[in-house]
Amino acid sequence: MSTAVKTQAGQISADARPASGAWAAEARTDAASRLAAMGLPTRRDEYWKWTRPDSLISAAPATAEVFDNQGEPLVFHEIDRLKLVFVDGVFDADASDDLEGEGLEIERLSTASEKDIHWAKDLYGVLETAGQTPVQSPLAVYNSAMATDGVVVRVTGKPTRPVSLIYRHEDSASDVILHHVIKVEEGATLTLLENGAAAARFNQVTEVDVAKGAEFHHVRAQGRDHDRQAITHIFARVDAEATFKSFTMTVNGKLTRNECVIDIIGDDAVAHIAGAALGDGAENEFHHDDTVFITHDAVACESRQVFKKVLKNGAKGVFQGKILVKPDAQKTDGYQKSQSLLLDDDASFQAKPELEIYADDVICSHGSTTGAIDEEALFYLRSRGVPTPIATDLLVLAFLADAIEEIEDEDIAAEVTGRLDAWLTRRRG
């Protein structure tokens, strides 16, 4: 499917695009023409200088061996949740729970897009379009033009269980595009879980509208398949007094770029985005890129970016983050933290933590540190009898803690910590 990217970018013809009802057809046509004007990313683009877009847009098919987790239960298995399963990008109704829940309306994107009138019309491709400033995301536009599957979720109440999207990867040559639209209505609350690799190459867009006073909590664990590649995009619009929180855990993966564009449009809103990535380049390449743009366009809002990376054996980390404070966004409180722990000399980290501020009554800051493990702390632990590998892992987990703390639900946070701990333990042998 996305083999078409390279060959057809700029000229995605109407018949290459999926058939659909009026609103969806219009949105897809619009995306196709926007992409034609924008073109695909190149290494000369300011925000692609540290991550090569080539393999994400290449016409050559991507392959990734399916990860054998040796019967180990998947992450979140202990959490009571409403499961929606995609196998290589196709919704699997049999493996999924019923598409209903208290205060929830769930539909497949393919079903929704056949209808002539649908609430998703006001969001599909719309938040993505708005998110093209300050920086363009052509691969998200491509997604809007081409996506056939995904879910559209409208939340009107406070469902007791999280909605959980499970992306199974079974075909080693799958190339998948998924597009989700989520609308959390005024005062409603949703927790969204995601896990799995989805495909050898995965392009995802999630558009999230968090209405006044609503809450959206998102925790994601990206698949462990070593060769997989992923470009994911979140476009969020956060209204007054609403809360948006998103956390991503990444272990393994040849190439991952997680983009997140958040527009805060209502006063007193809160938006937090966090990530913990563990990469070991010994088993395979590991390149992880977090690219985040937060725009404050309202008064007295709070934003946080907390990204932690632990890298070794040639693993590469990239962080690009911007806080943009518009002229009238007074009383903004913005903080950005990007830290990397380089466990050996071959690992590398590149960062560009930007502040662009046009209002004066603000407190905005960022901190970025890069370096090896704290020798003093290590020595202290060893002097208490903890062997070096265990001491190192302890310090690694402690280093990641700031990011994990951004997960509000304790059970889910414990699950994430457990997985990270297991990853470290396995490598200790």
Binding site: P353, V362, I363, G367, T370, A372
Partner: protein, 507 residues
């Protein structure tokens, strides 16, 4: 109470702030013009103009060729647009590239022969071209002999160097301090070896243009194991209208030497913008140390944003030798547009680079400034302290790069980058690039943006200060770490500038 006397001495620098604030009334102090007969090259730039400049300077053939090659490259380059700067397109053909006072046609043999009008100009700027002690006006500054301190001055007026003081005395110490045009003739071997070796001819658009058309500037060579007996300084004055100033500075600190170099700049107040594109190259050999301080006070344009200097500057120090050291300190208060990133190439093992900067923008000024610390050698260290202050409708950007190459083992960087906003119509931005390619190095970067603290303002006002005075005091405190890095007499001037630059920014 012993100690109190000492205390005043040590505190001397900032002690004077308040007086400074009060003693200086008007805004831009240096906006007047010297009426003097000038000789211009025809407007515009082309190979003929490049040859003409070379000819005016009596240059050898190799230098002319070097320039022409640079010009050929420049024609192929495009003006960069990545900085957060917004200014009308510059018509590079609508400028004079060479302007020299008629009286300088015959190069004066000594300072006594210099046109009195030119001498008067520098006198009025507070830089008398006399070989006298400069009294720093700071009570009991410890490191200063009772009779004052000597500072040698090279004075550049539009396109030419007017004269250089203390040359004889410096010569005795083996130090060469002269205009670059003189050095090309007198010390071709040094110039040939080092010119363009730190900032290559085609480094960037403005540096390439400078390589083709630079008309004068300063040259410094400090021989091995020599501590330069006095501070060296160059004072740049743009006087002529529609004229670009393109100066070139080359500083070579040979093994084990030390020099502190100061640079000042001013220009008359005019309605049309003027271009300034300089290149500074510094070569620092083993165990040598260079301190380079700038107080940049080009005309910033008026309150409506009319006029002012467009300042595009490439400054780079190459710490070639082991344990070499460079310290850039800059106080950027002038210019309508500033595009400037004094950088350090830390090549030698255990070499060190420091960058201290205060950038103040008010009214419609725009600054995009910062530094690059490129760590190539092992055990290298760098430190960046940047204080940006934005007021009025100004935009102020810190842009920097810290790069740890794979071989730069055990290296360190610390960056502190603070921005202060005064008023809700201005902007403050931070664009740092961090690249770390080994794990024995440590990079720490911190940045904050906020407005002047209200509690501090109220505290000052409760003690009787008006708003403007309180802001000047707090801003000077905010910028203190950088002010302290300046040589004493510059620190005082800088403090006054901080206050003046912010005039009219509150209330």
């Amino acid at each position: 109470m012993a100690g109190v006397d000492e205390l005043i001495a040590k505190e001397g620098v900032e002690e004077e702030t308040v007086e400074a604030v009060k003693s200086l009334a008007g805004a831009y102090k240096y906006g007047w013009e010297t009426e003097i007969e000038m000789e211009y090259a025809p407007k515009g730039v082309n190979p003929d103009i490049v040859r003409l400049i070379s000819e005016k300077n009596d240059e050898p053939e190799w230098m002319t060729e070097w320039r022409l090659e640079a010009f050929a490259r420049w024609e192929k380059l495009e003006e960069p647009s990545w900085a957060l700067l917004n200014y009308p397109e510059i018509d590079f053909q609508d400028q004079y590239y060479y302007a020299r006072p008629k009286s300088m046609e015959e190069k004066p043999k000594s300072l006594d022969e210099v046109d009195p009008k030119l001498l008067a100009t520098y006198e009025k700027l507070g830089i008398p071209l006399k070989e006298q002690m400069i009294l720093a006006g700071v009570e009991g500054a410890e490191d200063m002999p009772a009779e004052g301190r000597k500072v040698a001055v090279d004075a550049v007026f539009d396109s030419v160097s007017v004269g250089t003081t203390f040359q004889a005395e410096l010569k005795k110490a083996g130090v060469i301090f002269c205009s670059i045009s003189e050095a090309i003739k007198e010390h071709p071997e040094l110039v040939k070896k080092y010119l363009g070796s730190v900032v290559p001819v085609s480094d960037n658009y403005y540096a390439t243009l400078n390589s083709a058309v630079f008309s004068d500037g300063s040259f410094v060579y400090i021989p091995p194991n020599t501590r330069c007996p006095m501070e060296l300084s160059t004072y740049f004055r743009i006087n002529a209208e529609n004229t670009g100033q393109f100066e070139r500075t080359l500083i070579i600190a040979d093994k084990g030497s030390y020099v502190s170099y100061l640079e000042g700049c001013t220009a008359p107040q005019r309605d049309t913008a003027q271009l300034h594109a300089a290149v500074v190259e510094i070569i620092i050999e083993e165990d040598a140390e260079v301190k380079y301080s700038t107080v940049q006070n080009w005309f910033p344009g008026d309150e409506e944003g009319k006029g002012g200097i467009y300042n595009f500057v490439t400054k780079r120090a190459d710490c070639r030798g082991d344990r070499s050291k460079v310290m850039w300190t800059q106080v950027e208060t002038g210019s309508a547009v500033t595009w400037k990133y004094p950088s350090c190439i830390l090549r030698g093992a255990e070499s060190q680079g420091e960058f201290y900067s205060i950038a103040i923008t008010n009214n419609y000024q725009q600054a995009d400034t910062g530094t690059k610390m490129v760590h190539l050698g092992r055990d290298t260290k760098s430190r960046i302290v940047s204080k940006g202050i934005s007021a009025g409708k100004a935009q102020n950007t810190y842009r920097g790069l810290v790069s740890m190459h794979p071989k730069a083992k055990n290296s360190r960087n610390y960056t502190q980058c603070d921005s202060l906003l005064i008023g809700d119509k201005c902007g403050a931005h931070t664009v740092p690039y961090i690249e770390v390619k080994n794990n024995s190095s440590r990079v720490e970067h911190e940045a904050t943006t906020s407005k002047v603290d209200e509690e501090q303002m109220f505290y000052c006002r409760q003690r009787g200060m008006d708003e403007e005075e309180a802001v000047a005091l707090i801003v000077n405190g905010f910028a203190k770490e950088v002010l302290q890095a300046l040589p004493m007499e510059f620190a005082m001037e800088a403090q006054q500038l901080v206050a003046i630059s912010l005039e009219g920014s509150v209330g």
